[in-house]
């Protein structure tokens, strides 16, 4: 058989899952949708000695619109369920737009919203989206819980603040302010493949079309998704003119990302992609926010 042997736990409730994780400590690993973990196990690049399978925990799969206009998503909600949810589409169209770029339909049918964030792949869409939307993450462990912002959550490539006994149980996407819209842009060699560079921009405008809030996130060009500090510094309070956006794009590409070189493109080429993509996504987000 391809994967190395492991002990298997199939809890029915969150409480049972937390107990399993506490008992197992460093030898336990959570199995969510499995679309990244199982391929790694097939190659024996990952050899967890015990898996706690959340697929049997029905209470972790839900989409709950919150009273303030946000959306709470249970960690085991499948990507495709979020992608086609009418309330998600209405409240935050950027979510469905982003999910459409995750691998292929067969993967989105199994992959989970929370699983992808907890996996913290620097080239993955959902960790970047959670950062762009300023998501709040509910982390539970036996006898306790805490809220963590998306910014605090990811600490390195495939590394998060989660301890072995912790479980990410819910992702809350806070409501978007009026006149706020987003735009996703990426370049990849084929549809569904990893992006060579990608950006998600969220722009909020005031009633005189000046930028009230901007969150421009780059990913697949560094060790974690990157929230541009410069974009917020220079755009907030000002009109998002073509020149201002071009300045942000140039600065971000030069100073705020750290792409590597590989077979398919040099670091220099990928910086250039960042510049183009940041410009396009900010421009489109502004246009959409004005509508």
């Amino acid at each position: 058989m391809k994967p190395a042997p492991f002990e298997y736990y199939a809890p029915k409730t969150v409480e049972e899952a937390l107990q399993n994780l506490t008992d197992l400590g460093y030898s336990g690993k959570v199995l969510a949708g499995g679309q990244s973990l199982i391929p790694a196990m097939n190659f024996r690049m990952a050899r967890p000695s015990a898996l706690v399978d959340l697929n049997t925990v029905a209470e972790l799969a839900y989409i709950r619109p919150t009273a303030d206009g946000g959306i709470a998503i249970g960690t085991m909600t499948r990507d495709s369920v979020v992608e086609y949810d009418p309330i998600v589409k209405q409240r935050m169209p950027i979510v469905a737009e982003t999910i459409g770029y995750i691998a292929h339909a067969q993967i989105r049918a199994r992959g989970t919203f929370g699983g992808a964030i907890a996996h913290a792949d620097p080239a993955a869409q959902l960790p970047a989206l959670s950062l762009a939307l300023n998501a709040k993450l509910l982390v539970k462990r036996k006898g306790g819980e805490r809220w963590v912002t998306a910014e605090e959550f990811i600490v390195g490539p495939f590394m998060t603040v989660l301890e072995p006994e912790d479980l990410l149980v819910e992702v809350v996407l806070p409501p978007l302010a009026p006149r706020t819209a987003g735009s996703y842009k990426q370049v990849s060699r084929q549809r569904g493949g990893y992006a060579q560079a990608a950006t998600i921009s969220m722009v909020g405008l005031d009633d005189r079309d000046r930028v009230k809030d901007v969150r421009c996130v780059l990913f697949s060009v560094g060790e974690t998704p990157i929230l541009s500090k410069y974009a917020a510094k220079v755009l907030v309070g000002n009109e998002p003119t073509e020149a201002a956006i071009a300045d942000v794009a140039a600065y971000v590409a030069k100073n705020e990302c750290d792409p590597g070189s590989d077979l398919h493109g040099t670091a220099e080429y990928r910086r250039q992609l960042v510049q183009v993509l940041v410009r396009r996504s900010l421009t489109e987000a502004v246009l959409r926010a004005k509508k």
Binding site: P3, Q35, G192
Partner: protein, 160 residues
């Protein structure tokens, strides 16, 4: 001592009860335990799409699921589509349009498309290409597959 887990899976309308090791992949369970060898395994890490099956009616990759995850779920494999005498309209279209050469990838394409065409009755060529973007074919160059899907959509509309 090897842990064994009892699972109950319905495959192509037949209910199976089996004991499996947790690390057994669903694709290998289907092929080796159930002897349903129509489901092919290519890359075995979720890239090529050859192992696509329907899991509770949705197309998924069986090589990146464990058999234990199918407990109390329903699966359809390519064997559920048609017989040599009574091909599914999608299979007929693949035959008529020469949408396969070696045929290795075909079960995966068929299971992807039977799900897709169920929800999308009249796709454009661009939508067809998007629908098959998770399946590799190394023989045809995809042109005849796209043609076959177009024909299949017409055939399926006529059947319904």
């Amino acid at each position: 001592m090897t842990q064994l887990v009892k699972i109950n899976v319905t495959v192509n309308g037949v209910s199976y009860e089996r004991e499996v090791e947790p690390r057994l992949l669903l694709s290998d369970f289907i092929r080796h335990d159930l002897k349903l060898t129509g489901t092919h395994v290519g890359c075995e890490h979720g890239l090529c799409g050859a192992c696509t099956i329907l899991f509770d009616g949705e197309s998924v990759r069986s090589c990146i699921m464990f058999a234990v995850m199918a407990d109390r779920h329903t699966i359809e494999t390519v064997e559920s589509l048609g017989t040599p005498d009574h091909l599914h309209p999608l299979q007929e279209a693949f035959m008529e349009k020469h949408a396969l050469q070696c045929g290795f990838c075909t079960p995966g394409f068929l299971m992807t498309l039977v799900d897709y065409l169920g929800d999308n009755k009249n796709p454009t060529d661009e939508e067809i290409r998007e629908a098959i973007d998770g399946n590799f074919c190394r023989c045809t160059g995809y042109e005849n597959i796209v043609e076959a899907v177009r024909l299949a959509a017409k055939k399926m509309a006529a059947h319904s």
